[in-house]
Symmetry: C2
Subunit: 416 residues, 2 copies
């Protein structure tokens, strides 16, 4: 079962808004056994919408649209769909009641003077919106399904996950779709061309014989990713893990699995009953925010002292004022004292610290933008190192954060 | 001058990787006067690539591709382009030297055994990669320009911004393209349909007479956004601001301009010479990370105490253990004490605190997931409130964060 997403909105092409629905849909559809073949973003323009529908209807079974269902004049999706399928816009008692109910769920009153949400192209079906006021629309004709959903991410994702599986079952009579998924072999410290040309010639072919393979560069390194039907999970994981274990690549693998670095840290810290904390200057709380994105982090995570000002480094982390004046805030000495101070003041088992220059200003010849001191403090070791990265301010915050998180993972793994 | 982006990569459609190049390009092209008409994401598949090229070449002047230029077997873009334009893949002394130079910039050696980066479709031009090893490709034929760039975001953005303007000038002889931009009127507290139907009938037409208008729902409220050529900036901003100032919508506007909330906070805090800090529990450092995304934040930002564990709330923020046992960590009382403690321990002028339940676990009937206490402490006022949001864990972290940041903006504005 093949699907395409058509995202409608000038603001997405003019740099005003970032689409979130494409990525969400790409993570959702595999779980219900539907293949996302194309995502297309176009402007709020009738001819762009109709020519895209022409094109996509040729290629896929299901077209989902995102956006243009709101109450303002640039919301043209419903009208264009009516025209495209040569349907009149109409309303009836049921559609009036449907919108009334939609509003009453949010304790708001609605009447037909308020907007034209109760109008729909004849033969279309209104689709419930769990998180907003504009209803979605579905239509089935010539073995093709259309689902038109609002662009607001929370409305889009809840509407699709609440309705699509049922619509497929109803219209295509398909309840047998097999979900598919992926398995990642995540490496660090070896370039892509070295893996396949020098280190493991033939690896591409061996893994490709197991499942569809992609090689994906990532902030930390190269991920080898296998895609397969869920009912093959056991065999694929076993076979792929064996191939890697028998190859020299095994020494560069930091994870056999799909977890993000912060998810893996929380998982392994829980397993080893280790509590965690940070002292963050240049990362500004980013590492802490990533760890707390993981549900269940509270089991092992104590907190972070975001010490952007030197006074906070001194007063809360106990960094020696002489260290700051002699070596500067961005130094191995300061990084170490921050980590030691964080471990002590937070009372956690392992603390990681960050002090660096994210730019664009603040760099010097000896300490250019991209310099970061990473410190660590735990029962096993108290130390720090200076490393260098390149990129924009937000790139650097991310790269700094990953370097420290990876160090944290390594320390957790040193514990029995 | 019209442009389309063709993003090539299975991983983007299978939920493995999130594309960043589409959004970046949408923010870059307006600055050089090029209109982004379409962004299309397809899989690493020859027929998908060639049919997309057929379609896009009909509609735009410039096609940019992203991805598939690396050294592994799923990197097929170069071969498919050669076939599509009926060119042989070739190399010459110049292309060998080009790749040698590319590698030597990173202090790495390269030779023709390492990969096939020196091969290019005859008649194509190699394009420099400032941040990676795979070169880009450009080709001009029949008044259509192709630029093929790597998918890694830092390589893609630096290659496009380093080469596209020059390629347009060389091939189209166009140095007169006018940049375009947008101006936002950012509101809070009034639904979209109320603005245009009840509060300000005729507003859509009045603003549309000034420039192209979009109405965009946003976490905080509705943004009205006008798009125009940069040389009309003064008139558009003046006219739009006057229209709003004369309308009842003016009481709901929190910004005439395009800044993100955190950027506006840093700007206004600098103007008023106010220093800022946070105490964060449920947001886990997100507010701090947002503020420190803003270059120059260090002028006013002191830091955040991320107090995920109650022990940190007590020991560093000085929250009374009785408050925690009597009212719980998620309470107006605790929020206030956290803010007061953060202001004191960080030594800043205004502190905002967060303590809530981001879920998915931890909710109860009285305090469901989505409950958050926001506290504030400054010379003007020390207080707190409980508010409720809906959404997933990361949604809620974002919504909590915005609520507190908006309170921070309001407090800054109370200062003379």
């Amino acid at each position: 079962m093949k699907c395409a997403l058509l995202i409608i909105g000038d603001e997405l092409l003019a740099g005003r808004t970032r689409d979130l629905n494409g990525h969400w849909l790409s993570t959702y559809l595999p779980s219900i056994g539907v293949e996302l073949c194309q995502v297309k973003t176009i402007s709020d323009d009738e001819s762009a919408i109709t020519s895209s529908l022409d094109e996509l209807y040729k290629r896929v079974d299901i077209v989902i649209t995102s956006g243009g269902l709101g109450p303002t004049k640039d919301d043209i999706t419903k009208n264009v769909l009516a025209k495209y399928f040569a349907k009149d816009l109409t309303f009836n008692d049921f559609s009036v009641k449907f919108i009334e109910n939609l509003y009453s769920k949010f304790d708001r009153e609605w009447n037909t003077q308020k907007n034209s949400y109760h109008f729909f192209p004849e033969g279309f079906t209104l689709v419930d919106n769990l998180n907003g006021y504009a209803p979605g629309l579905s239509y089935f004709e010539d073995q093709k399904l259309l689902l038109s959903a609002p662009g607001v991410p929370r409305e889009f994702s809840s509407m699709v996950s609440n309705s699509l599986k049922e619509l497929i079952s109803k219209h295509f009579k398909r309840d047998d779709l097999k979900s598919f998924e992926y398995f990642s072999i995540r490496t660090k410290g070896v370039p892509e061309e070295v893996i396949f040309r020098d280190l493991c010639p033939g690896l591409w072919e061996k893994l490709s014989a197991i499942a569809k393979l992609s090689s994906l560069p990532h902030l930390l390194g190269i991920d080898l990713v296998l895609y397969f039907n869920s009912d093959q999970r056991e065999e694929v994981i076993q076979a792929a893990t064996k191939v890697i274990s028998d190859s020299p690549l095994k020494d560069f693998v930091w994870q056999y699995g799909n977890l993000e670095l912060e998810e893996l840290i929380v998982k392994e810290a829980i397993e080893k009953n280790l509590t965690l904390g940070f002292a963050e200057s240049c990362t500004g709380g980013l590492s802490s925010s990533k760890i707390t994105d993981v549900a269940g982090a509270s089991k092992v995570y104590y907190g972070s002292i975001v010490s952007y000002a030197n006074s906070v480094k001194e007063n809360i982390l106990g960094v020696n004022p002489n260290t700051l004046s002699k070596y500067g805030a961005v130094s191995a000495q300061c990084a170490k004292e921050m980590a030691v101070g964080a471990q002590k003041s937070l009372g956690c088992d392992i603390a990681i610290s960050y002090t660096g220059i994210a730019g664009p200003g603040g760099g010097s010849k000896e300490k250019p933008v991209g310099t970061v001191g990473i410190g660590w403090s735990c029962a096993l070791e108290q130390d720090s190192e200076i490393i260098y990265h390149k990129g924009s301010r937000t790139d650097l915050k991310n790269k700094f954060s990953r370097s420290g998180l990876f160090k944290l993972l390594e320390l957790i793994r040193q514990y029995k």
